[in-house]
C-alpha cells in the first residue's frame, strides 16, 4: 500500500465483508505528541479468540478465493516500521476494532494520502452500510457522517450523478485535512 488512506480502505473492506452495518473511522494527527493514529471500529460479526490470534498472520485468511491474507499484516508492518503500535480487539457477535499508530515525524511513516477518495469509494460502493469519519487535528474535529446525507439525496441512488456530487461536496465542505497536509 502506498499510503495510509489505502490501508484504511482495505481494513474497512474487511468490516464490510464481516457484515457490518456501521463503521466508524477516526484519524488523529497529533503533531504535539508526534503521533498519528488510526482507529476503525465496526459492528460486524467479530472474531473468536482463536481467529483473532491468527488475524495478522499473512498466511491466514478466511477467504476462499486465495490462500493469503495480507491486509492486516500490511498495516501492522507499516505501523511497526514507523515506530508505532498496532492492535486488534474483537468480540464474536459484537464487532472489531483495529488500531494503528505511527510516529508522526518518522521517516518511514507513510503519508496519509487521499482520505476523501477512500471515503467516497466506501460510501458509494457499500450503500447499505453507514459510515462515520472523524478527523482530529491538534484539537480540531471534522466529521463526515452518512446518516446526514440521506435527506439531501431525497430518493436519488447514492451512485447517481446527484449522489456522487452531494458526497463530494460534503467531503469538500467538512474542511477536514482530507488530502493530508503531510504530503511529501
Amino acid at each position: 500500500m502506498e499510503d495510509l488512506s489505502l490501508h484504511i480502505l482495505d481494513i474497512v473492506e474487511n468490516s464490510v465483508t464481516a457484515g457490518a452495518t456501521f463503521v466508524s473511522i477516526t484519524v488523529c494527527e497529533d503533531k504535539g505528541h508526534d503521533l498519528l493514529s488510526i482507529e476503525i471500529t465496526d459492528n460486524g460479526k467479530g472474531m473468536s479468540r482463536g481467529i483473532l490470534q491468527k488475524a495478522t498472520d499473512p498466511f491466514f485468511t478466511q477467504k476462499t478465493t486465495r490462500r493469503v491474507g495480507l491486509g492486516l499484516s500490511l498495516l501492522q508492518q507499516a505501523a511497526k516500521r514507523a515506530n508505532g503500535k498496532f492492535s486488534i480487539e474483537s468480540k464474536k457477535g459484537k464487532g472489531t476494532t483495529v488500531k494503528a499508530s505511527f510516529q508522526y515525524s518518522h521517516v518511514d511513516r507513510q503519508p496519509l494520502g487521499d482520505i476523501a477518495e477512500t471515503i467516497e469509494t466506501l460510501v458509494i460502493g457499500n450503500p447499505s452500510v453507514d459510515f462515520r469519519y472523524e478527523h482530529r487535528e491538534n484539537g480540531l474535529l471534522s466529521v463526515f457522517d452518512t446518516e446526514a446525507i440521506g435527506e439531501q439525496l431525497a430518493g436519488a441512488p447514492i451512485s447517481s450523478p446527484k449522489g456522487i456530487r452531494i458526497i463530494r461536496e460534503i467531503l469538500k465542505k467538512t474542511k477536514m485535512n482530507l488530502t493530508g497536509t503531510d504530503s511529501r
Binding site: 480502505l9 473492506e13 477467504k63 458509494i124 460502493g125 450503500p127 441512488p157 451512485s159 447517481s160 446527484k162
Partner: protein
C-alpha cells in the same frame, strides 16, 4: 419498547431504500470494482474514482456502481466486472484509468465488449 419518532422513520426508510436500489438492480448496467487488498494495492481506487468522475460529469443516472472483494486473480488486478442487464457479466483485468474509460464508453454505453481487456473472452480452443 421506546417510541419511534418521525425522524427515526425517515432514517429507516432511507436505509431500506438505499439497500433496495442496489438489490433490485434498477439500473441498466452494473459495474463492480474489485476492492480486495490486492485490488487496492494495484490501484482499484483510481479505477473507482475514474468511474465516479465519468458518471458525475456526464450525468449518467441508469448505472449501478459498486465494489466487491477479491476474486482470486490477484495478479491481474485492478479488475472490474461489467454486467449489462440481460447479458452475461464480463470481467476486465489489468485495468488502467484509460482502459476503464474505454470500457465504459464501449461496453456500458454501447453494449460492445472490449475483448482485448476482457478476461478469457474467446480463449477456449475448439480445434
Amino acid at each position: 419498547m421506546p417510541k419511534i419518532k418521525p425522524e427515526d422513520l425517515a432514517k429507516i426508510k432511507e436505509r431500506t431504500r438505499r439497500t433496495l436500489i442496489l438489490r433490485e438492480g434498477s439500473g441498466r448496467a452494473k459495474v463492480t470494482v474489485h476492492m480486495g487488498t490486492c485490488g487496492i494495492a494495484a490501484g482499484a481506487r483510481k479505477i473507482m474514482n475514474t468511474l465516479l468522475r465519468i458518471i458525475e460529469e456526464r450525468e449518467i443516472d441508469d448505472i449501478i456502481l459498486t465494489t466487491s472483494g477479491c476474486a482470486g486473480l490477484c495478479s491481474h488486478e485492478p479488475m472490474a466486472t461489467v454486467e449489462v442487464k440481460g447479458t452475461a457479466p464480463v470481467k476486465y483485468v489489468d485495468l488502467t484509468e484509460k482502459k476503464i474509460e474505454e470500457i465504459f464508453d464501449q461496453h456500458v454505453q454501447k453494449g460492445i465488449i472490449v475483448k482485448e481487456y476482457a478476461l478469457g473472452v474467446g480463449s477456449e480452443r475448439t480445434e
